[in-house]
């Protein structure tokens, strides 16, 4: 994309160095745990060792006897205020603190408030809880069997563990297509639980001012306004009123979806602050974070693909069992309990498709949506890209050729998928062709053939994904009823500088820079002069926050639209100053000039000054605008990734030799930042593919609940990612951009799995579930007689 602004103005396309960095590189970031308020006390949480148990008694005397312990809060305490249960973002309910029973290991059972965090920890050790263990349900299949213990005994009319059934597509037509199919493949694909494990854990400082009846909560949240409204609705009956609630999301050390839900710790901290009249800080430690916070994935899928013998795909069917833990606390848009899973037809022109998801309660932490998944798109893409490779194997067809044959073609856009999405733009063949050319696909296949002769195991895997981000249009998208628009408020000062506030909330995505660049592009004001703010609900316009790669598609769009409203007013002022009519004015490079007389011009800075000092009579002073942007559609970034692996025949270890990511996110604001998002996303795609997993034994005991066993990759396990781009702008977005933050997490895992399976395909291997551990591979090698 050609640069339209100078380096000084630094609009779209410039790799502007980040404006937020100066504080971070000096260690002057302002994270929640850095906050220290006068009189602040600390909250720590007693957690259940059992996955399912009645609470017989909670003994708090020993804890209360410790000097410095101020209070112990239990479910009984909160029940007095009817705060012991709270709604989830999917209109289910979950406990804040239990009165009767616990439903997952590490569930919050009681909270200790103390003068410092060391004493609070001692207090937690001193609380004694008597439990009566109950039968545990961890297998979602067993949970749905008749006769399984009913977990949600709090729901009067619930007699089973089934949460919801959701489906999309034409079941009968798809069945017919499968019946007629020349070729069919079917594969069970399980994606286990994983956890975002951002380096900063979750936490808050809740500060209730008794005199003013005003609550401020500094909080690790990706969606401060939604939180404020939820608090007002949930705790309105105890006197919290929305105009007297302020949520401040300061610097956030990584979100990735894990800082969207309302965790019990936040609510307990707020309740404690209201009761004690002091600021209460709660910061979870890493084990609490991994064991109790919102998990991601846990989808048991069966994918089927029907095709003609020549490789033309004809029908797709995916049946999924979703394990949601003991409450549906996923943060989906309310009409989409399985998120945007119906993107599962992917990049292919499938004429028939049907997909259904059934969700079950189990004795595990609640949640489901997190880890850069774009609302279940990671699951959907994993399924379609894996089953595509299974089909390729079945047909003995090159997986790149099979994809090329079935891609939705550029001239088919906007493309209405059979499951109801209108893809805005795309050029899948170009992305795959670029990936193949850049990595040298043909040479790699030759090398693979040679190596195979010598018994060396090398694999090449492709993933050509289509993402769906930017939730979303008001007709379909809301969270707890709040529509998923987003907002920008731009105000220009007399000296031509800008303050711009947004309803989103960066957790590292660089909005202080990228949003400034959008303003610079639209108004010609140097990005360096644009102050960007997010995260304080007292000042920022209402928005739904940052997750699911929605910021650029929504708030970014609002920014451009608001800037264009400002330009409209600026034009009127310019006409007045230049004594010309508006029709005679043109806009370029930050100024309006008279057509044919370019020396007769006014810069945006001169116009801004005039807006306060010399504006047309009858016009309001000032130069500002707000926009609440309702996206007409989602955006559909896409890409083709190619992964090359070598397998150690002695240990089963998989080494990623090369990984090339070709991404298309439309027009790019800041290429450096986009590449950073891709690098990070690829790492968070590789990690679940090879290393990360949270699992439970039959008693609901967690495995992978600390960094000892939850394996976040270091720089040694991470390859040197290679990136490239194609640019296919979004036709409906104000500057043709799409979201991109999660593309790599979506596209990478199937590329890696496809590569490993490809390395072993000649031995008859068709599928391996992630994480692909060395032991899993070694078991296959041993079984096939090729282990060292």
């Amino acid at each position: 994309m050609a640069l339209k602004t100078t380096a000084e103005v630094c609009g779209m396309g410039h790799s502007m160095k980040r404006k937020e960095d100066p504080r971070f590189i000096r260690g002057q970031g302002h994270y929640v745990d850095d906050i220290k308020l006068p009189g602040m006390v600390h909250l720590d949480i007693v957690r259940s060792p059992y996955a399912h148990a009645k609470i017989k008694a909670i003994h708090t005397e020993k804890a209360l006897a410790i000097p410095g312990v101020l209070a112990v809060i239990t479910g009984e305490t909160l029940a007095q205020f009817n705060l012991h249960w709270m709604p989830t973002l999917m209109s289910d309910t979950q406990m804040v603190l239990p009165v009767e029973k616990v439903m997952y290991q590490a569930q919050e059972v009681a909270a200790v408030i103390a003068t410092d965090r060391y004493i609070a920890a001692d207090g937690v050790e001193a609380v004694e809880v008597e439990y009566e263990p109950l039968p545990v349900v961890v297998d979602p299949r067993k949970a749905l069997e008749p006769g399984a213990p009913v977990l949600r005994t709090d729901k009067k009319d619930k007699h089973d563990n089934h949460i919801f059934h959701w489906e999309a597509g034409d079941r009968a037509a798809t069945e017919r297509a499968f019946a007629e199919a020349e070729v069919k493949v079917k594969e069970d694909i399980y994606i286990p639980r994983i956890h975002v494990a951002s380096i900063e854990t979750c936490g808050c400082v809740a500060d209730f001012d008794r005199a003013m009846g005003h609550l401020t909560v500094y909080m690790t949240t990706q969606a401060p306004h939604a939180i404020r409204t939820v608090f007002a609705l949930v705790a309105g009956h105890v006197g919290l009123s929305e105009e007297k609630i302020r949520i401040v999301s300061p610097d956030i050390g990584g979100g990735f979806g894990g800082k969207v839900p309302v965790y019990p710790g936040y609510v307990i901290a707020v309740a404690a602050s209201v009761v004690l009249g002091k600021p209460v800080k709660w910061i979870e430690d890493r084990m609490e974070n991994l064991q109790a916070d919102s998990f991601a994935r846990d989808y048991h899928m069966t994918a089927e693909l029907a095709a003609k013998r020549d490789g033309t795909m004809t029908a797709l069917r995916i049946k999924t069992l979703a394990d949601h833990g003991y409450a549906d606390a996923a943060a989906n848009p309310s009409k989409f309990p399985a998120g945007l899973f119906s993107i599962c037809t992917g990049s292919y022109d499938l004429k028939h498709a049907f997909t259904e998801v059934d969700a079950a309660y189990t004795n595990k932490p609640p949640g489901g949506i997190a880890y850069r998944c774009s609302f279940r798109v990671t699951e959907a893409v994993h399924a379609i890209e894996r089953i595509t490779d299974v089909l390729a194997q079945e047909l003995a067809m090159d997986p790149a050729a099979l994809r090329m044959k079935n891609f939705i073609q550029p001239d088919q856009f906007p493309y209405k998928s059979v499951l109801g999405w209108e893809y805005d733009s795309g050029n899948y063949p170009a992305a795959l062709a670029l990936a193949m050319k850049t990595i040298g696909y043909d040479e790699l296949r030759r090398e693979q053939a040679e190596k195979r002769q010598r018994g060396e195991l090398m694999g090449i895997g492709i993933s050509s994904f289509t993402e769906i981000v930017g939730a979303g249009p008001s007709k379909d998208f809301d969270i707890l009823g709040i529509k998923m628009f987003d907002s920008a408020e731009i105000r220009i000062h007399p000296t031509g500088k800008v303050i711009a506030r947004f309803g989103t909330k960066s957790q590292g995505q660089g909005h202080e820079t990228t949003y400034a660049q959008i303003v610079a592009e639209e108004l010609g004001i140097p990005a360096a002069h644009v102050q960007v703010e997010e995260g304080d609900t007292d000042t920022a316009p209402y928005g739904l926050g940052t997750y699911a790669s929605r910021s650029t598609p929504t708030s970014g769009a609002a920014c451009a639209v608001a800037a264009r409203k400002i330009r409209e007013k600026a034009k009127k002022i310019a006409a007045y100053l230049l004594e010309a009519s508006e029709e005679d004015l043109e806009w370029e490079n930050g100024k309006f000039f008279v057509k044919g007389a370019p020396q007769k011009a006014k810069t945006i800075q001169e116009i801004a000054f005039a807006a306060y000092t010399n504006h047309p009579p009858g016009m309001e002073a000032g130069l500002e605008a707000v926009d609440y942007y309702d996206p007409p559609n989602l955006t559909f970034p896409f890409g083709s990734y190619i992964c090359v692996v070598d397998i150690d025949r002695g240990t089963g270890a998989v080494k990623i030799r090369r990984f090339l990511a070709v991404d298309d996110c439309g027009n790019i604001i800041n290429p450096m930042i986009v590449d950073g998002q891709i690098h990070g996303g690829l790492s968070m795609g590789m990690a679940p593919a090879l290393l990360e997993e949270i699992s439970y034994d039959e008693n609901g005991n967690i495995s992978g609940g600390s960094f000892m066993d939850y394996l976040v990759p270091t720089a040694m396990e991470t390859p040197s990612w290679e990136t490239a781009k194609t640019v296919t702008p979004s036709p409906h977005h104000p500057f043709g951009a799409k979201g991109v933050g999660e593309s790599a997490t979506v596209g990478a895992p199937p590329a890696i799995v496809n590569a490993v399976v490809d390395a072993l395909a000649h031995l008859g291997v068709r599928h391996i579930d992630i994480p692909i551990t060395p032991e899993k591979v070694w078991n296959i090698l041993k079984e096939k007689g090729v282990a060292e």
Binding site: R117, Y118, A121, D122, E125, D285, R286, G650, T651, A653, L691, S703, G704, M708, D709, L711, P713, T714, M716, E717, T773, P774, E775, W778, N779, K782, A787, E788
Partner: protein
């Protein structure tokens, strides 16, 4: 994340430290690098009334050659071991081992003595010291005593050290000419304990045959495992591919690992075998380089 309260002592001499240990006995723990002990205390998986920090006592960090031994002070940091030219030249097995313990930051504090005294079969030095046929010097109220490494690891998290003793030195017999060693560790990621690991120390004779072999396994049982049968098998043999394969097979058979997230028993045992073979090959390469260098010197 927060340990329970304890008393802290920072004695300036070994005598003071020993007196404190004698006074507080089972209610005291020695703090060396702290990289195994502090994590335990922080998770409240262990507790103690008294931490005796030996970090201020001079004369406990050194790497020297003396008599026929290499002597390493108990409080020598892993990072020192990793960077030591002397260790790299004389005991490449130990250089290998030090380089894969935890991560580089932990290695700046973790000590060799601590790694051994913790009694954790998942630590890396125990197997290396077995392979090197080292001796541990323990200093107690009644003076020092030397404990052969084969008697040092008694059980899971239990060593032959008395409650009142401090591990002050490790002595490794000077490897004869034509020796080589290597450590091969399979870990899920950097910083993890070994899924399996093999320590090998080999000495060759004038005709290229194996005259001495030390083979030991990490995380293959409640204590580090000496693959004694594999060692005996190799002595006197030419280190052919077949001999290496058989020695490795015997080493694998000596492993009795427990199943955990790193692998089931069969996988871990097989990895002990595969890694022993790889360590043997590398140790032999190093010994052969030493052979060539020695021969060049002779001429």
């Amino acid at each position: 994340m927060i340990p329970a309260a304890f008393d802290y002592h920072a004695p300036g001499t070994l005598e003071e430290a020993l007196a404190l240990l004698a006074e507080h006995r089972d209610d005291a723990k020695v703090l060396s690098g702290g990289q195994s002990l502090l994590p335990l205390l922080k998770l409240r998986l262990g507790s103690t009334g008294h931490l005796i920090d030996i970090g201020r006592i001079p004369g406990l960090e050194y790497i020297t050659e003396e008599g026929g031994s290499l002597k390493i002070g108990g409080r020598t940091r892993e990072a020192e071991l990793e960077r030591s030219e002397l260790i790299r030249a004389k005991l490449p097995l130990l250089a290998d081992t030090a380089a894969v313990i935890a991560d580089p930051l932990v290695r700046n504090l973790a000590t060799v003595g601590g790694n051994l005294a913790h009694g954790d079969p998942a630590n890396d030095h125990p197997a290396a010291m077995l392979a090197l046929r080292a001796e541990v010097v323990a200093t107690g109220p009644r003076g020092t005593r030397t404990i052969p490494i084969d008697e040092f690891f008694v059980g899971l998290f239990t060593t032959a050290l008395d409650a009142g003793e401090i591990l002050t030195e490790i002595r490794i017999p000077q490897p004869p000419p034509l020796s080589g060693g290597a450590y091969e560790k399979l870990e899920r990621k950097v910083g993890d304990f070994a899924t399996a690991a093999a320590a090998v120390q080999i000495t060759l004779g004038a005709n290229g045959e194996v005259v001495a072999a030390g083979i030991a396994l990490t995380n293959a049982g409640p204590t580090p495992v000496r693959a004694a049968e594999a060692e005996r098998y190799l002595v006197g043999k030419q280190p052919s591919a077949e001999a290496i394969a058989e020695a490795a097979r015997l080493a694998g058979a000596a492993a009795s690992p427990s199943a955990d997230r790193r692998g089931k028993v069969e996988y871990k045992r097989e990895m002990s075998r595969v890694l022993t073979a790889r360590a043997l090959r590398r140790a032999l390469q190093r010994a052969t380089r030493a052979t060539r260098a020695a021969r060049a010197k002779e001429q």
